[in-house]
Every structure is written in structure tokens, then in C-alpha cells.
């Protein structure tokens, strides 16, 4: 376990009811890294995150955390935004403080939304609940923050507050961030590293900086030569779309197509689509 690693996963496997959900996963995340795990529904992203959170136990393999990390150092918001909903906000805060042995709780987020402290958690809207959960976790000052795909349930205002809080966390504490998402909008540029999961394995692991350089799209009317590494293609009657990965500048010289840049959503679609293409050809 390297000293700069926040989390190291080796050979992680998990099956439920005979179905393989995680398939021998290896992963290393550095301290302070911001990572997004993308993929389709059912690819295993949420399962992996829950294993990291200690809420699920894998069948095989192990997870190692940075030395000195206690359970309090992990902040986890599940896809269900699980809390003790019958508590009021006040009670929820008090319980979280006591159990995690936190001295101060910063009510900024709660005040932003003008939440009544006597209101029961189950009466909050989805977005309010997310922010409340986040505020609890922020007070933990976690070394590792695990966030499942919840952000799409919130309105844009709440999403912005959420993101800004996460940015503060990254700046103030160098927190390692692992997010799970399958749709992207504002949060696209927060993660520095993108992992794409499909059927319990990683099919892509790239820095977001370089991913844009390594994956390009060609739209053309004719078929492209075989030499061009095509990850995924869509051939309609007139137009054809080709996703090229890995892209290198030399390709431009030999094959002077118009290589378009692709945004994150499409990148993920291309990777996933490519998996299907592979499967069909087998």
C-alpha cells in the first residue's frame, strides 16, 4: 500500500444470487484525488461504492485504506440517501455529532435552505435531504467522501450548493472524492479521473484532462479504414459516426478526417456501446 494511496482495491469480486456484480476489480485511488465512476445502471458502480463504504462485504478480494483512517474518516451518501428519517433535523444532527464524536456542526447549508430544525427528515424534499446529509458528512471532515448518484434528483440550485460544498471540502481538507454518476452536467469537470464500469469491470480508466484528447469522433458518409482504432460506431443509412480511441496526433496526418471533441456523456456512451459491439462480434 503506497503511502500516497487513499484506497487500494485488489481482486474484488461480489456475486448476488449467482449473478456477478463485481468482477475481480483492481483499483488504486490517490489521496486527494477526485474520481468519478460512470457506467450504465447495473454495471456495479453503486455496489463498488457500497463496498468502499463498508456497507457491503465483497465475496473475494480486499480493500485497504490509508493508514490511520478510522470509520469516521469515511463520509458516505448512499443512493437512497439513507438517514434516520423519523428524527427531526435537530435530533439527526445531535445523533450524528455524538456517534461521530464531532464537536462543531456548521449549519450553513441548513440555513441556506431555511430548514426548520424541528422538521422531520422524512418531510424534507429530495434535494433538501441530500444537502442535509451532506452537511452532516461535512461536519465529519472526512478524508474520503463517497457519493452515490443522487445529485440528479436535486434541483439546479441545490446542485450548485452541493458542488460548491464539495469544492470547499477538496480545498480545505484534501478529501479524496469518489462519485458515482451516470449523467453529467455541471459536475463534469470536478473529477480528475474517470472510471467507466460495465458488467462489474472497468472498461476505461483515464484522466479527464487527457480523455478529451484520447477520444475523438468522426462523422462521415463513408466507412473509415480499419487502421483507425474504433471504439464504437453507429452506421446509419447516410451518416456514420465513429468514436476513435485511443486517438493520437499521428492519425491526423495519415487520416485527415475532422476529429471532433466529445463531451463526457458521449464518451461514456461510446465506451459502453463499444462493449456491446465487442459482445456482438464474439
Amino acid at each position: 500500500m503506497a503511502s500516497q494511496s487513499a484506497v487500494e482495491i485488489n481482486n474484488l469480486s461480489l456475486k448476488i444470487g449467482g449473478k456477478t456484480i463485481l468482477n475481480k476489480i483492481d483499483l488504486e485511488i490517490q489521496k486527494g484525488e477526485a474520481v468519478v465512476i460512470a457506467g450504465r445502471n447495473g454495471s456495479g458502480k453503486t455496489t463498488l461504492l457500497k463496498c468502499l463504504a463498508g456497507v457491503l462485504f465483497p465475496d473475494k478480494g480486499r480493500i485497504a485504506y490509508q493508514s490511520g483512517l478510522s470509520r469516521k474518516g469515511i463520509g458516505f451518501i448512499s443512493d437512497k440517501v439513507s438517514l434516520f428519517e423519523k428524527y427531526s433535523i435537530k435530533q439527526g444532527i445531535a445523533f450524528h455529532k455524538d456517534v461521530y464524536k464531532i464537536d462543531d456542526f456548521d449549519p450553513t447549508l441548513i440555513n441556506e435552505l431555511n430548514l426548520d430544525k424541528d422538521q422531520k427528515i422524512k418531510d424534507l424534499s429530495a434535494g433538501e435531504r441530500i444537502l442535509f446529509h451532506l452537511s452532516l458528512i461535512l461536519s465529519q471532515k472526512p478524508e474520503i467522501l463517497l457519493v452515490d448518484e443522487i445529485i440528479h434528483a436535486a434541483d439546479p440550485y441545490i446542485r450548485e450548493i452541493f458542488l460548491e460544498s464539495v469544492i470547499d471540502l477538496l480545498e480545505d481538507h484534501g478529501t479524496t472524492l469518489v462519485m458515482v454518476n451516470h449523467t453529467f452536467s455541471e459536475i463534469e469537470k470536478i473529477p480528475e479521473r474517470i472510471l467507466i464500469m460495465e458488467k462489474g469491470r472497468f472498461i476505461a480508466d483515464e484522466k479527464s484532462e487527457t480523455l478529451g484528447e484520447k477520444l475523438k469522433k468522426i462523422i462521415t458518409e463513408t466507412k473509415i479504414p480499419e487502421e483507425i482504432p474504433c471504439l464504437f460506431k453507429r452506421e446509419l443509412t447516410h451518416l456514420k459516426e465513429y468514436y476513435i480511441y485511443p486517438f493520437q496526433e499521428e492519425l491526423r496526418k495519415n487520416f485527415p478526417y475532422d476529429y471532433k471533441n466529445v463531451r463526457l456523456n458521449e464518451i461514456i456512451k461510446a465506451f459502453i456501446g463499444g462493449q456491446y459491439a465487442q459482445k456482438r462480434n464474439q
Binding site: S70, R71, S78, K80, S82, F84, D98
Partner: protein, 623 residues
């Protein structure tokens, strides 16, 4: 205020206590209101609130035991809090422990309340016995606790728990039944009713606790071990793990239960008889007879609910309780029934003299005052019986004892004493074989017959009579200032069997009652010389004399404080300590019995045998 001072565990515990408290209050409310509802709506007609309350309470507690076990995660499950719970900074074991603790305490508090009711008001309205209730109450809790992670559906848990409970109870009953049969108690049928009514043997409690634990601990252990990997996967993953651990543990528990129940279950008490040739007869009303000859244990067939041995001759031991008179052959291990009372009749007081067994037969129920009595003389070889009606008025009152038999001028006779109330004394009659019945003597205290002498007592003297010309004539009167009572053989001090003496008896030992009419520390033994009519005091002789023949006399001295039994050999006025034993006098029955050939200690299930003359221990295999 530093909240970090409070342990994480304490906060969790606080939460759990709050949850349990809320549930408890809700439950208490229902328990208090339901009887009122039942009474008001006349579902329970003619009952007062209190009378309706107790059964509701008792059965409500079963539900509570189930609920306290099964509801471990119900609060979290009911509010989408499972993932939050499992991501808290507490290990799984601590989490479970902190959840179980307040629920267990609640369980115990309600049990305490139940006990208050049980020993106080309403003890009649509670349907189940204490042992029955407690057993089900706690078993239900542990069962439902073990299954608490096996389903997210409360109804399913309810069904599983109660199903398992019935399985468990059935298993307990089967264990009991199997062990009883395996141990040979073929005449004992285990019944469920005593369990419900609480009319149980003491060993049943230890049986239930020990075997119950052996069967329940595997479930709990399997639960605890499976909890380590408890997560939000569907319950069937947990269940698979749970069953995998449970199966082998349960089998071990079952084997342990079989072993334990075999050791624990002892039904009825064992009676022992040691023959002259050191064979040990063991009788238990439920398994019949076993004869140990040192090497083997022989089982004897047949159902003999009682065994009161009254004579031994050659290989035969004669016994009769309340069922029939029979004899056991210790050589070929057969039992021969000699007499069975006809319908509506009973018998008692069997004694043997030569080839005749004499006993009293009376009609009616088990009261033998004022009912028709007959003296029966049974000829052993032919089994012919000769019945003599005891119609005399005198014979209708008082306790009849057969003192001995004899022959005078080729006429057989029996001596019968009839003792009334202690202040009144009694009479001695001679019954001739042809039915002639004559009053022989009157006596103040229990007389003694040693052919041809008859010892009777007046207020102040001992009167020795001799059988002359068909009548007993007083030959001597010995002043008895210190009120000695002279004893005969063994534990039937009024009787000497003629055939058992080759040597004529010339010396009799006595014991003396203290003023309370009970043998006490101020007992002094005395020796009566029949030839010289002299009474010699034997202050050195301690304890109770126990004589088997003219020469063979022992003394048994019990010290309750030191819990010892000292056995001495008495010879005239000399005593020699043979051996001292440590005895526990806890049990109500006599922990040992002195026979002519030795002493048998039977405490609980074990019997130890020590043989005269030196009281060394004899080993019996298979005992």
C-alpha cells in the same frame, strides 16, 4: 460542551434505549387496554378486568419476547436507515450488542413483573406453570433473535419464530421420551400436561435448561458469527451463511443434549436391597428390577411398581408393596408372583415364616380402620391361601403387626400384636392354624417375640413370658426404670424370624426414647441378658443398635453437624468402630440402608455398597 467526550457506543445505546422505550410504552398500553376491551365487548363474559388481564398479559408477553428478539432492525428498516446504520463508525458486533442490551433488559423487566403477578395476585388466572412460561418466554426470545436478520418482513419472522419454537418444543419432548425409553424406564410415559401444570420432577428443570441451551446456543452462535458479515445484501445471503454455520453446531448441540439428558433423567427413586451373598437388587418403579452380581447387570421383566422386601431365603428375596406379593430369584433372575389382591382389596404387613407368608388383607379403600380385615396365610409352594377373619372388636382398632410364628405340639400359630394409640398400649393375640384366636398378653409398649419368649412391657417393668402348655406364663419381671425398649431384628424391632437363628438369642440390645419420644443424643444403649434377666447399661455404645442375629450386632451413629455416619460393631458391652462415612442428609429419604451383609448408600442416581464385616467397598460393574 465537548460532545466528543461521549463514546460513540453510548450515543448508539441511548438511541436504542429510546427506541425500546417507545415500543415498551406502546406495548404496555395495549396490554392494559385489551382486557378492558374484551370485558366491555363481552368477548370475555362474566370476567372482571383483573381476571381478563392476567391471561392477556401472559400471552402478550410471548408476543413481546418474540418482538424483542425479532425487532432488532425494525426501526431502521422502517425509516430507510439501514445503510446509514451500517456505515456508522461501530463494528457489527458492537452494533448488535448495543441493540440487544436494552431489549434484553426490557425482556427481563417484564419477566420480573410477571413473577410479581405470579407469586402475588392472579396466580390462579395464569394458565401456564412458571417453568412452562419461563421456558417458552426465553426460548422464543432467543429463537426470534437468531432469526432477526433472516427476513425483512415481520410476518415472515413471526411465522418462522413460532414454527421454530414448536419444533424446538417438540424436539425437547422427543429427547425426553427417547431418553426415558433408552434408559429402560419402560413403564414411564412422558406427558405434556405436567409441563403445563408445573407438576414436574425436579430433574426436569435441569433437563429443560441444559438441553434447551444445547439446542438454542447453536442458533445464537450461528447468528453472532453470521452478523460479522451482515450487510445490505438480500437476507438470503445472510441466511445461507447462517444455515451453514448452524447445521453442524446444531448437530453437536443435539448430541450434547442426548448425552446430557441421559445423565440428567432419573425417574422415580431407586430402592436397593443387598442380599446375603452380596447381590444388589435395584428397583425403580418405572423400569422394574435390575440385579447386579458384581460382573453383570441383569434386567428383569415385568412391571412391579413397588418393592418392599420382607424376607430372604436362599436365592429368593420376597417383596410386596401395594401391588402384589412376589419373590425375586437372584440366581435365574425370574420373578414369581405369589399373591395379587382381588378387586377392591388391599394388603399390608407381609411376613414370612418358614414356608408360609402371612399378611393382612382388607377390603375397601386405603383406610384400614373399621373395615373387614383378614389374616391370610399363603403357602409358598402351593400358593394356597388360608384366610382367617379378624372379627374381634379389639382387632378393628389399632395397628396390627405379625410378630412371629411357631409350632406348639404340631399346631402352627401366629402371634399378632395390636397397638393402639401411644397412651393406650396394645394386646397380643395368638392365632392358631385352625382359627382359634386367643388373647395372650397386654402390653404398654411394642412387644417382642423370640421363641419361646415373649417380651412385653408394663408402665414400670419388662415382663418376660414363656410359652408353656399353649399359654404364655410370666417367668420374670424386670424393673425398667429407665424405660428401655429392646429390639429385634433389623428395622422390624418387634420380630425375630425363627428360622434365621441357629443360635438361641440370649442377649437383646435396646434403645431408649428420649422424653420427646424420639431417639436423641441422650439415648443410652442397654443389654438385656435373657438368661440372667439383668439389664446392663452400655454407655459406650453410641447410636442405634442394628442386630441381625445373636452375634451380629452393629450400631449406627449419625452426626448431623459433621454429616457423618459411624458404624460400630457391638459385642456385649464392647464397641469397635468399623468405618466412618461422609453422608449428605439433604434428601428427604434415607441416604443409606443397613442390610445384614452390608450397607448401601444411594444418593440420587449412584449407589455404593460396602460389605460387612469390615465395610470395604464392593465394586459392581454397570452400576
Amino acid at each position: 460542551m465537548k460532545s466528543s467526550r461521549l463514546l460513540s457506543e453510548a450515543s448508539m445505546l441511548k438511541k436504542e434505549i429510546n427506541d425500546v422505550l417507545k415500543q415498551t410504552l406502546f406495548f404496555a398500553l395495549i396490554i392494559l387496554l385489551l382486557p378492558a376491551f374484551l370485558v366491555l365487548t363481552k368477548i370475555y363474559p362474566d370476567r372482571s378486568y383483573l381476571n381478563a388481564f392476567f391471561p392477556v398479559f401472559q400471552f402478550g408477553l410471548f408476543f413481546w419476547a418474540f418482538f424483542m428478539g425479532a425487532s432488532l432492525f425494525s426501526v431502521e428498516r422502517g425509516q430507510n436507515g439501514m445503510e446509514y446504520l451500517l456505515s456508522l463508525p461501530l463494528s457489527r458486533y458492537k452494533l448488535i450488542g448495543l441493540k440487544v442490551l436494552p431489549r434484553l433488559i426490557s425482556l427481563l423487566i417484564f419477566y420480573g413483573i410477571f413473577l410479581i403477578f405470579f407469586f402475588g395476585p392472579g396466580s390462579n388466572s395464569l394458565a401456564l406453570s412458571l417453568i412452562c412460561f419461563s421456558f417458552i418466554y426465553f426460548s422464543l426470545y432467543f429463537i426470534s433473535l437468531s432469526f432477526s436478520a433472516s427476513s425483512e418482513n415481520f410476518l415472515v419472522l413471526f411465522v418462522i419464530s413460532f414454527l421454530f419454537l414448536f419444533l424446538f418444543l417438540g424436539l425437547e419432548y422427543s429427547l425426553f421420551w427417547l431418553t426415558v425409553k433408552a434408559k429402560g424406564y419402560i413403564f414411564f410415559t412422558p406427558k405434556i400436561t405436567p409441563f403445563i401444570t408445573g407438576d414436574l420432577e425436579p430433574f426436569t428443570v435441569s433437563f429443560l435448561i441444559m438441553t434447551g441451551s444445547c439446542l438454542l446456543i447453536p442458533s445464537l452462535a450461528a447468528f453472532i458469527f453470521s452478523i460479522k458479515r451482515f450487510d445490505i445484501k438480500p437476507p438470503r445471503v445472510h441466511n445461507k451463511r447462517f444455515v451453514t454455520i448452524l447445521a453442524p453446531l446444531f448437530i453437536i448441540g443435539l448430541l450434547a443434549s442426548l448425552f446430557l439428558s441421559h445423565r440428567i433423567i432419573y425417574i422415580g427413586t431407586n430402592d436397593y436391597y443387598l442380599t446375603r451373598d452380596h447381590k444388589l437388587i435395584e428397583h425403580n418403579g418405572y423400569f422394574g428390577f435390575r440385579i447386579y452380581d458384581g460382573e453383570k447387570a441383569h434386567k428383569i421383566r415385568g412391571f412391579y411398581p413397588s418393592f418392599l422386601p420382607f424376607a430372604e431365603e436362599g436365592p429368593y428375596v420376597y417383596g410386596g408393596g401395594y401391588d402384589c406379593i412376589f419373590r425375586v430369584n437372584t440366581a435365574d433372575f425370574n420373578v414369581e408372583e405369589l399373591y395379587r389382591p382381588p378387586e377392591g382389596k388391599n394388603f399390608y404387613g407381609a411376613q414370612k415364616s418358614r414356608q408360609t407368608i402371612a399378611f393382612l388383607e382388607y377390603g375397601g379403600r386405603r383406610s384400614f380402620e373399621g373395615i373387614e380385615k383378614k389374616l391370610v396365610l399363603l403357602h409358598i409352594a402351593s400358593k394356597k391361601m388360608f384366610r382367617i377373619s379378624l372379627d374381634f372388636e379389639a382387632l378393628q382398632n389399632g395397628h396390627i403387626r405379625l410378630m412371629g410364628a411357631g409350632t406348639y405340639k404340631e399346631r402352627d400359630f401366629w402371634l399378632v400384636s395390636i397397638m393402639g394409640a401411644p397412651e393406650k398400649g396394645g394386646q397380643i393375640f395368638r392365632l392358631w392354624q385352625d382359627g382359634e384366636f386367643r388373647l395372650v398378653k397386654e402390653t404398654r409398649y411394642i412387644p417382642l417375640y423370640i421363641s419361646p419368649y415373649l417380651l412385653t412391657y408394663s408402665e414400670k417393668d419388662i415382663i418376660i413370658s414363656e410359652d408353656r402348655e399353649g399359654r404364655f406364663e410370666t417367668i420374670r419381671k424386670i424393673p425398667n426404670k429407665k424405660q428401655y425398649r429392646f429390639i429385634g431384628i433389623g428395622d422390624r424391632p418387634w420380630f425375630w424370624s425363627e428360622e434365621e437363628n441357629d443360635n438361641p438369642i440370649t442377649k437383646l440390645y435396646s434403645w431408649r426414647y428420649s422424653s420427646k419420644e424420639e431417639p436423641g443424643e441422650d439415648t443410652i444403649c442397654a443389654l438385656l441378658n435373657l438368661e440372667t434377666s439383668e439389664i446392663e447399661e452400655l454407655p459406650d455404645v453410641k447410636g442405634w443398635p442394628y442386630c441381625f442375629s445373636g452375634d451380629v450386632c452393629y450400631s449406627e451413629e449419625i452426626n448431623l453437624e459433621e454429616k457423618t455416619l459411624a458404624v460400630y460393631k457391638i459385642r456385649e458391652n464392647q464397641i469397635n468402630l468399623i468405618r466412618k462415612f461422609n453422608v449428605s442428609f439433604k434428601e428427604t429419604f434415607h441416604p443409606y440402608e443397613i442390610f445384614e451383609s452390608g450397607i448401601v448408600f444411594s444418593q440420587g442416581k449412584k449407589a455404593r455398597v460396602y460389605a460387612f464385616p469390615d465395610l470395604r467397598k464392593i465394586k459392581f460393574k454397570h452400576l
